[in-house]
Amino acid sequence: MIKVNGRNFEWEKNLTVTKLLQKKNYTFPSIVVQINGKFIPQAQYETALINDGDDVKVIHLTSGG
């Protein structure tokens, strides 16, 4: 189990940021990703691995309207 924005989410092996975004259907273009407080640049989404128990933040910058 991992935390995504403070809520529980099922972890799986080889979970990358890209995979997590797909699973959550997070398609908004302006987001900020942190794993355990560490900022992950967009260029590393494909490779950055998320481990079981990690605290992940996927912050969507306010938009709409």
Binding site: N5, T27, S30, V32, F39, I59, S63, G64
Partner: protein, 717 residues
Amino acid sequence: MNVEKIKAAHKLLAEFKYTPGKLDKGYANKSLYINVSENKIEAKPVTEMMKEKFTGGRGFGLWYLWNAVTPETKWNDPENEIIISPGPVGGITQYPGAGKSLVVSLSPLTGSVMDSNVGGHFGPLLKFSGWDALELQGKAEKDVVIFIDGNAGIIRIEEAPEEALDSHLLVEQLYEIYADTPEDKRNISVVSTGAAAEHILYGMLNFSLYDTRRKAVRLKQAGRGGIGTVLRDKKVKAIVVKFKGVKGNLNNPADFAALAKTGIKMHKEIHAGDDKQCQMRVRGTTYLVKIMNDYDLLPVCNFKYGSHPDGNKIAAPKWIENFNIGKADGCWYGCTLSCSKVICDYELKTGPYKGQKVVTDAPEYETIAGVGSNCGIFDPQFIIEANFYCDTYGVDTISFGTTTAFLMECYENGIINRQITGGLDLRFGNQDAAMELLHQMARGEGFGRIAGLGVRKCKELFVREYGAGAAFLNDIGMEVKGLEYAEYVSKESLVQQGGFGMANKGPQHDEAWLIFMDMVNNQLPTFENKAEALHYFPMFRTWLGLVGLCKLPWNDIVPENNAQTDEPAKIPEHVQNYVDIFNAVTGKNIDKKEMILQSERVYNFQKVFNIKMGFGTREHDKIPYRSVGPVTVEEYESRQDRYDSQLKELLGMETEGKSTEEKLKALREYREAQYEKLVDAVYERRGWTPNGIPKLETLQKLGIDLPEVVEVVQKSL
């Protein structure tokens, strides 16, 4: 078009001459008052007090309207005014999105004060003509056109019996009449509405610009609250301004170099970042359709659902196919974000202009969601056609979409039927019926006139005339204060429910759009956090309307390093840009804190204005349950896993073996109680009483404790 004949029919009713002057640090320091009952035209000074307490734009509009009306004034009384003001920063060409005007009036929908923002060239040209605001009062006996010549210093009220009412024709005619040469058209802007505004309560205003590259007139809309209806009630067909000589320094800014430097930095940011972010330059706001559909926020079938498998049929790629991209897509000079898209050579398929080819402004997100998905319609061609006709008829697409969706749900529930609708089969998805409803509004016929009353009055009518149950209608009728909801599903964001419910004018997203911060990011876990967000963001966004700026360049593009800042959601660098350009234009020395204080003054004044008009207290911030949670069994069951798990996690309820009705009831009790707690927290943060009235110490602290303001509050405490 026989322009000579139209022109010959004009009769001069009043003329006023003035000496055009230079602006001083963003202000003309005078405003233009026109009374069409008395054919009176005069100049009024803009005082230091006005600038200090109200800044400009919406602030000036509210102040003038406050002084024009009493608590007894109705929207269609001659005393009601329409005030148009661009704000001190408005009209600069160095920074994107700087051509906004704010329009203020008493609303036919809410009965209280309304503000609506709009692009187009009118506001800046009005200011360059020497006026910080235009204050229009009275009712003409016969149709008139008001003409402001900002170079010659002449203002005229002219009887104008021959012009068309529908904006796409009327505005073309007026450009032909008032332009000296074809090249002169670029110097003209027109405020107008359309035929439907005579028959409905949500008539809107078109603000034009002349697109020199496409050689066509284009229209931007002050959509919300029925101000177009007020314009037609005054028998004003149009207001025309003409000013030749727009250039970058006409505001006479205090520090031109600082203004240019901030603007260049922003243009570079857009150039480098837009393609990687929202692609506003290519897609405009249509990019939001897919996002909202993906996050279950796109209204479908009267806000029952937040997504639909056909959502992709009205997403950005379908619009790009129709856009004429790459020309002048800004609605004011210097806007490199260029989101104002255009569709050329569109052949109309219905209505009085069937078969004609038109250049039309493309639908934006709100329109696509409102007249499209919310009505169960996923056909881009229908949406283009509906958008064109709403614009030319003077119909607010948001109110039309939300009202039509509500009527469709009433129809499907048997509350209204074919007999009542005059034969219209108003099922969700029936685009022919929706289009006919729109044409009926323009003709002032049939069920279109009923639909034109808006959701609140339709609810009252259906209860009174057809014995409908008020409770269900109040649950599904998406309005607050009489204004129809903007097009976002707020069920899973308590903060957004509050953003809609506690907005001064009614549920419009331009006060606060906080769904991601709340629902997705989970950044606002406590009521204190939620209240702080519902303090800061409405105040920040109000500020844009005080000075004449567009919201989109604030957060539809962000700096590359925004993610690493302390408060990414606020886009701190852009907020600093705004402080810098305000100071560069006006010569003042505000900071980010004073910026919010400027807004708080006006925001609280508007709140007191609502109270003065008999609204503004807690009962007026109540919201329909459809915006809070699932009303019907089918809604609940469509997202059963989500709701069941919430009942377990939040209430410890064992959902196994419980009926949907039992679960609906428990969820509703919980969510409604949460909303009341939120209201308590927000009122406290804003310095208001539990009944939503600004406390005297709040007004004193903000320096908006004018005697007449204090008097209203004291009576209500």
